[in-house]
């Protein structure tokens, strides 16, 4: 047992963990997919994982969500369960195998949402303290109007919890969504410095943002690898 642990330790964690954070419609997923393409083109092994996407937990969470009887604490714990499942099953083993793990939302989403819902700040942080610190955490800073325009043009129907309707901020779902998202922005902004977010101006064009992100990633690659990196023709 001890020796196998020592052997495992020797392997270390050679992979890179890149996460994107920001409110809905800030353009995270768009940028992460472009990043994935670029990394794959350069022959890296890549795994992309999304918030609240574990199959095992999903069916149960949506059952509760439909009934709209989740409390801030159960909401938080179910999302933590989902995260833990992806972390234990995929994220950690793949990082140990040397993958680029791209996470579309990470623990900071829980920090922001759960605290906004009324959970204790320290409690949420301690619950997630088993997670690895990312090599790079991009935060997409965007004014609420712009993100709302982007979201609503593509998909006009807002969901109950997404709009923070459980918080009784407003009876109007759009108004509720706006207030809820603004509160989440406040949370993100309050942790940006401490957590060392790489802030991206999400009002910029898609290409411009991607260029900034790739430059940041180049900086965390080993010299040897860096020289071989190419742009997709």
């Amino acid at each position: 047992m001890n020796t196998s642990r020592q052997i495992l330790k020797k392997y270390g964690i050679p992979g890179k963990l890149i996460v994107v954070e920001g409110i809905d419609g800030s353009g995270k997923s768009t940028q992460l997919r472009l990043l994935e393409k670029w990394l794959r083109f350069n022959n890296f092994e890549v795994f992309r994982t999304e918030w609240n996407s574990s199959d095992m937990v999903k069916s149960i969470t949506s059952k509760g969500k439909k009934k709209a009887n989740l409390t801030p604490t159960t909401f938080s714990l179910l999302h933590a369960t989902d995260f833990a499942d992806r972390f234990e099953r995929n994220i950690l083993p793949l990082l140990r195998a040397g993958y680029f793990v791209l996470a579309d939302r990470y623990i900071y989403t829980a920090y922001a949402r759960d605290v906004t819902r009324g959970c204790n700040r320290m409690w949420v942080r301690k619950m997630y303290d088993f997670a690895l610190k990312p090599d790079l955490a991009f935060y997409f800073r965007v004014p609420i109007d712009i993100s709302m325009d982007r979201i609503l043009s593509g998909r006009p129907k807002l969901k109950y919890y997404e709009a923070g309707m459980d918080l009784n901020l407003s009876n109007d779902i759009y108004q509720s969504y706006r207030i809820f998202q603004s509160k989440i922005i406040e949370q993100y902004e309050s942790m940006a410095k401490l957590e060392g977010f790489a802030v991206i101006d999400a009002t910029l064009g898609i290409k411009e943002q991607q260029k900034l992100m790739r430059e940041k990633i180049m900086r965390i690659l080993p010299q040897k690898t860096k020289r071989t990196i190419q742009e997709i023709p």
Binding site: M56, I60, T71, P72, T73, A84, D85, R89, M127
Partner: protein, 268 residues
């Protein structure tokens, strides 16, 4: 007859922005002293800040103990006695929440969950019961008899290699019970009680997921020993009252009833 049958309104438990609900006018317990609930977390680490201000008047009594230690039997006997004495009683246990109780069973059948994942899964299930069953019943003045509580969940985590501190931080959202008993039974005796009931050892109560031994019997004994050892720590830390569960049902019941009656009389 006095058990809660309908789920309480979600509004009272879902946010702190609601006004305190005082829907219960008659209190089924003799004592109607309202008081602030006591949580394991302090103001820095409380898990349910949005419920801090809601008063309760009931009492929470927990029976802990290993598989087949006689918890359910004791709770049944205690319930009958308390109800005869005029108390409104609610029974709860782990794995019974409407939200995810079924989900845990399904997940157990189909896939093996990581230790952190199952720890959080059980915590979610427990939180759901705490907020939707236990707290509303305490607000309504019930005596809640809980078949296991956070201690079993924490012990299971610890024996699987999760740090104690992580578990105690996690469960800082839980209410501090008024009384907690631990039915202490020798693991060898437990096996015989289990066999008397169903001739096979439960996969999870044997810690079979931990790969302790190929032999199910051995696995059960090793696992129960580990849990018992962890409970020694928990008893001290959380002040659980240890009861010798090797005695007969009747003997154990007399001890429990005496302690509970004394406590309820004292707080009445």
């Amino acid at each position: 007859m006095t058990r809660i049958s309908s789920r309480p309104k979600k509004t009272s438990a879902s946010t702190g922005r609601q006004k305190r609900t005082r829907s219960v006018k008659t209190d089924p317990v003799r004592s109607i002293k309202k008081r602030k609930p006591v949580w394991y977390g302090n103001s820095k680490l409380g898990g349910m800040p949005y419920l801090q201000e809601h008063d309760i008047s009931g009492r929470l009594i927990v029976i802990e103990g290993p598989d087949a230690s006689g918890r359910s039997t004791q709770i049944e006997m205690l319930t009958a006695r308390l109800e005869a004495d005029g108390f409104a009683v609610l029974n709860t246990g782990l794995k019974r929440s409407e939200l995810i109780g079924e989900g845990i069973l399904e997940a157990k059948r189909n896939v093996s969950l990581g230790k952190r994942t199952s720890a959080l899964f059980y915590a979610a299930d427990f939180a759901d019961q705490l907020e939707h069953k236990i707290i509303p019943a305490l607000q309504a003045g019930y005596v809640v008899l809980a078949d296991r509580y956070i201690y079993t969940l924490m012990a299971r985590n610890t024996v699987r290699g999760i740090r104690r501190l992580w578990s105690s931080n996690l469960y800082s959202f839980a209410l501090v019970p008024d009384l907690t008993f631990y039915l202490d039974v020798d693991p060898f005796k437990l096996v015989h009680r289990v066999f008397a009931k169903k001739q096979s050892l439960d996969y999870h109560e044997s810690g079979a997921d931990m790969g302790l031994s190929e032999d199910m019997f051995e696995s059960f004994i090793i696992y129960q020993r580990k849990l018992a050892k962890e409970f020694e720590h928990l008893k001290k830390k959380y002040g659980l009252v240890s009861i010798d569960g090797n005695k007969t049902q009747e003997q154990v019941n007399i001890i429990l009833q005496k302690q509970i009656s004394r406590f309820l009389a004292k707080v009445a």
